[in-house]
Subunit: 244 residues, 2 copies
């Protein structure tokens, strides 16, 4: 029997319908990322469904990173939406241990290098100026706060991913960035973590500005190498202290 000739029937699919309607709304209103979308209460009323159903739908979108909810403020679009988006939720059974972190770094090394190269290929003058701006902010924060410019550092990298023209870079690395932070925020890490990588931000930028993909890739690899070194040093220190 051809199993395809008897597909499961679909009766109710409320929250799916809500999401589809919401996609239509975002397109109709031409909402851009960052803009606020209607209140849950308004959506419930307009779509003639309960607020709970709206919330289930929005919870799904939030899980996909398409939307961000801020209590007391509203729900904000976080990424562009289209009727034919493809979702690929990937959950990795990772750990907080050293080797897991090294594994994410291996992935990041590959992606960071590729992103830097693509960025150098495709950056417009405006893009380069934007990256330069982020670099300045980061360097200033680094100097005034004696290191620990992680927030500005991250924005610099994000700018590169964005200019690479491929949103997947940012999405994948962002997930790992989060894991990374969860790790060394609380547990003790190396105090001057990230110091060694500092100079390479500028060299990466210079290679991008010079439209030199190969050079940009090489500098990105050097940066990741310093992070790996820091991580290994931290692990060694941890091992040492736990032995006493």
């Amino acid at each position: 029997m051809d199993q395809n000739s008897l597909p499961p029937i679909q009766t109710t699919a409320r929250d799916d319908a809500v999401l589809k309607a919401l996609v239509g709304f975002v397109r109709a209103e031409a909402l851009q990322p960052g803009e606020r979308l209607p209140t849950e209460r308004i959506l419930a009323e307009r779509l003639k469904v309960s607020r709970n159903t709206v919330r289930e739908a929005l919870t799904r979108w939030e899980g996909l990173g398409l939307v961000e909810r801020r209590q007391g403020s509203g729900t904000y679009l976080k990424a562009a939406v289209s009727p034919d988006m493809l979702h690929m939720p990937l959950t990795l059974a990772g750990g907080n241990d050293f080797s897991s972190l090294m594994q994410t770094l291996e992935i990041r090394r590959a992606l960071e290098a590729e992103a830097a190269a693509l960025c150098a290929e495709r950056a417009s003058q405006a893009d380069i100026a934007e990256i330069a701006r982020k670099l300045d902010i980061m360097e200033q924060a680094f100097r005034t706060r004696e290191g620990m410019s992680s927030e500005e550092d991250w924005e610099f990298h994000q700018a590169i991913y964005r200019v690479s023209g491929n949103p997947l870079f940012e999405q994948i690395i962002a997930a790992m960035h989060e894991l990374f932070h969860r790790f060394w925020e609380h547990p003790l890490g190396v105090r001057d973590f990230g110091h060694a990588s500092f100079p390479y931000h500028r060299t990466i930028y210079e290679r991008i500005a010079a439209r030199d993909p190969r050079g940009a890739r090489a500098e990105a690899l050097k940066l990741i190498a310093t992070v790996e070194d820091d991580l290994k040093r931290g692990a060694a220190k941890l091992k040492l202290s736990s032995q006493t």
Copy 2:
């Protein structure tokens, strides 16, 4: 069932706490994928939260593919869970168009090259023999079936990811591979798709067997380049035919 494995919830960030408690429960009860977890009503009662909160949490898990809900039946575990999972929701804007596939290919190029290099560094003699075996199977399938050895082809690549020592390579690329295939099956592609990439499988293997990371990376890049070419040719053909 041990009631102590479901202690009440603390304070704010309710649904997150629910998920954390649920992870603990799954571990405590050693639930395997396929097994049913407690009723929403029971969870709500045990955790001292409202059923809606439980539902929001389960909705998130459902969105991540960790769990499946069947009305009238129950909620079933779909994958293994661990306290420190890393979630990576990837969203491809614009589904079935050409650029989405090219974007996944850019990611795959970065990862494939890195995996091949790491594989060449770390492969044991047994690993190399295993890869050689997969290569033989693939080449034979290719010859007897006149191309279209996609299944065996994929297994060859998987062997490389596995030997790289980093499971993240396989998981990430596997997600994209699946996406890739969903387009390949139905929509018309180039008929001899993949033919051009065939010889590079052996050259990659040779570089790995020679413990030559740089060479392996270079050959992997060539392979991806041929796939990109095929894809571009397919897109051009499609464009041409849609104009008539």
